[in-house]
């Protein structure tokens, strides 16, 4: 066999070493421009969580313009991709801080967010979590970590009680439910929440007759659906992700399973564009109770307008949750900057702690942080797919349409 062609090893090594040394020891970025807030945003824009990360990024891109006209502050965004990986999240966070970020925002994934939180706390740079549900993130006693997103237990409670509201609003009697859930972080949190809360939420008149957990990586869910169908329950309580939600709904159709309806207590997936696109008419009437934006919110119109201008091909409704919470996180930073009048991280953290914002995009009370750095009172909405579009049907003050339950294809007991 002939010798393969070789490039000079020295050249190769030198190039790599040079690249590495040059970029790693690069001097500090631009001097801290007075009056400009540098926000380091960490999101998973590649690998497994890319879809949601890129959706959140849309909220990041529109924030500076909106906040400039709203609050008159100048924001410079420094974006980093965590690559859905905890190692990368940590080094990117360190890098952003070295390059002069005054505040960090991120990072959707609880594991990566926890790693970034440690860096933020260590360096005394405030982190505003846009989306991450693991309760532990605000249970560590950190002084520099703030989260404007409900914790998993809160999510569960809100989602479940909305089911009670739904049954009441549609005057439906549903006695049994079969519970299917994906065996991942969210599914597990939901299960714990359900087991803990169900005995206490007495206005929930239904019982869970069977539980079917499934593997998030499973390509084929026919067995799971068969099992769930065999439980003969009134409706399906489903905790899922986007990909499996589509597979499951398809299986339901193939196996001719027509319960009263499908209700998700709040996991992501059903309200995303791909769900309606893939399933067509079969997406209709499916219900999800996620933390959601207020279609009639004071700030929603402005953000939605900015979104549509920048992303003419996208519909705001599919990104509202991600964009809304991400925008609010940056807004919190900007608002604190305005009040603090300085980019000093400690001053910013103190200002964030004193945040009190009434005008919001998302559903819930004003943005106020409790001593743990957590915002209590973020609410969920009952969202139903109607005519291929997710519409808020509950609570009534934010509703865009009336809920339909049981769904039309249900043949009755």
């Amino acid at each position: 066999m002939t010798q393969p062609k070789r490039i000079s090893r020295r050249q190769f090594n030198a190039a790599v070493a040079g690249l590495g040394a040059a970029s790693a020891l690069a001097p500090f970025g631009i001097a801290r421009a007075a009056g400009k807030l540098k926000v380091g945003v960490l999101l998973p824009r590649s690998s497994y969580e890319a879809l949601i990360g890129q959706s959140c990024q849309l909220g990041v891109d529109l924030a500076p313009g909106v906040l400039k006209s709203m609050l008159g502050v100048d924001i410079e965004i420094m974006s980093a991709d965590t690559e859905s990986n905890v190692n990368t999240a940590r080094t990117r966070a360190e890098r952003l801080i070295q390059e002069g970020a005054h505040v960090l925002v991120g990072a959707f994934d609880s594991g990566q967010t926890a790693a970034i939180a440690q860096v933020a706390e260590q360096r005394g740079v405030p982190l505003v979590v846009n989306i991450a549900a693991a309760p532990q993130i605000t249970e560590q006693g950190y002084k520099f970590v703030f989260r404007n997103f409900p914790t998993a237990p809160e999510l569960v409670r809100n989602g479940l009680s909305l089911i009670g509201d739904l049954l009441q609003a549609t005057h439906t009697v549903a006695r049994t439910a079969v519970y299917m859930h994906v065996n991942d972080t969210f599914g597990q949190a939901m299960t714990h929440g359900i087991n803990a809360l169900m005995p206490h939420l007495t206005q929930l008149p239904f019982k869970i007759v069977d539980t079917v957990a499934y593997d998030p990586a499973a390509k084929d869910l026919s067995v799971e659906v068969s099992k769930a169908k065999a439980a003969n329950a009134d409706f399906l309580l489903l905790v899922c992700r986007l990909n499996d939600s589509i597979v499951l709904r398809r299986e339901m159709v193939k196996q001719r399973w027509h319960p009263m309806g499908v209700i998700d207590p709040g996991s992501p997936g059903i309200y995303e564009e791909q769900f309606a696109k893939s399933l067509g008419k079969y997406a209709d009437y499916v219900i999800d109770n996620p933390p959601w934006y207020n279609p009639k919110g004071a700030l929603t119109g402005i953000v939605e307008e900015a979104f549509s201008k920048r992303n003419p091909g996208e519909k705001f409704v599919y990104h509202g949750l991600n964009v809304g919470y991400t925008f609010e996180a940056i807004m919190i930073a900007a608002d604190a900057f305005k009040r603090a009048g300085s980019t000093d991280p400690k001053a910013l953290a103190d200002a964030i702690r004193a945040t009190d914002i009434e005008k919001r995009v998302m559903l819930g009370g004003p943005i106020k942080f409790n001593p743990k750095g957590q915002v209590d009172g973020n609410k969920s909405a009952c969202v139903q797919i109607l005519d291929g579009t997710p519409r808020v049907v509950l609570p009534e003050y934010a509703a865009e349409a009336k809920p339909v339950f049981p769904w039309p294809e249900y043949k009755g007991a």
Binding site: S46, A50, G53, A213, Y214, S222, S226, R250, Q255, S278
Partner: protein
């Protein structure tokens, strides 16, 4: 647990297993002959799925029909890949081969991410959600089509290797590399041909898969792993073995999901893999080299 439920589950597992087998077929052919561990297998199938989705979007071409042009394309690409990139690695240690194909896989999956974005894409054929009802048994139409194509492809490939001259030559290479060269066979060309055939199988599998699942850039690794489990269980280099392995995995996972915990059902396939590796490493239908 009613008999109907069990019957439904078993039939579904069988059909799914045949589709898995189709997916693993290409891997078996490549591994069995060229002895290269194709860790980019899942990514190749993902690209084939994207091709099918593109053709559907542009021409409303049904994936079953799209399988032919995509397979031809993949044959050419597979041939080029083997002849150009992979050939020098056949005699290299396994870890080098592994890194080569991991690099190829990384490039493929990230290029698809850049080209198509992270959104899932799918085809929407009319019959995709149809099923036939045989009494209480419900049979999924799309899966039946995919399973039939799996059988057809396997039969075709089997016939090719058994009865054609080139097929015999390829088998000779696999059995005795040195001997093949001594009798004057152009081994490099035959290897490339085999890789091309394997790639074509992957293409057919990908097109069929679009009837069943959504395609997104990060699908690759889990299919690669599944492919390897099936190939080992069924037997390296044995085409019926790939189908058998697929069916075995499909049915056992289905039953495990039914009687034990569905979220743990993949543990069954790995347990099966371990058992087979220990007690019959050539797989069920493979032959000891």
């Amino acid at each position: 647990m009613s008999a109907t439920l069990v019957a439904n589950v078993v039939i579904s597992g069988l059909l799914t297993g045949l589709v898995y087998g189709l997916m693993a077929l290409g891997l078996s052919v490549i591994f069995g002959v060229v002895r290269v561990v194709n860790f980019a297998h899942g990514e190749m199938m993902t690209v084939a799925m994207y091709a099918a989705v593109l053709l559907f979007g542009a021409f409303r071409l049904d994936p079953i029909l799209a399988a032919l042009p995509v397979a031809v394309l993949f044959f050419a690409v597979g041939y080029a890949l083997q002849a150009g990139l992979i050939n020098p690695f056949i005699t290299r240690p396994e870890h080098s081969q592994f890194i080569l194909l991991v690099a190829v896989a990384t490039i493929l999956s990230n290029v698809t991410l850049m080209a198509f974005g992270p959104d899932a894409h799918s085809v929407q054929t009319d019959y995709q959600l149809d099923s036939w009802a045989l009494g209480q048994i419900i049979v999924d139409k799309a899966r039946v089509f995919a399973a039939l194509s799996a059988l057809a492809t396997t039969a075709g490939l089997f016939a090719f290797f058994r009865f054609s001259r080139i097929g015999t030559a390829i088998r000779a290479c696999a059995d005795n590399h040195l001997g093949a060269r001594i009798v004057g066979l152009n081994v490099k060309h035959l290897y490339a041909l085999t890789f091309g055939l394997g790639a074509a199988c992957v293409a057919v599998a990908g097109c069929m898969m679009t009837l069943l699942v959504e395609v997104s850039p990060s699908l690759g690794p889990s299919y690669t792993l599944l492919g390897f489990v099936i190939v080992i269980v069924g037997g390296l280099g044995s085409m019926p073995g790939a189908l058998l392995g697929g069916v075995l995995i499909g049915v056992s996972e289905a039953l495990a999901g039914l009687f034990i915990d569905p979220s743990a059902k993949s543990m069954i396939s790995f347990a099966l893999l371990i058992v087979v590796l220990l007690f019959r490493p050539q797989g069920l239908l493979g032959s000891r080299t």
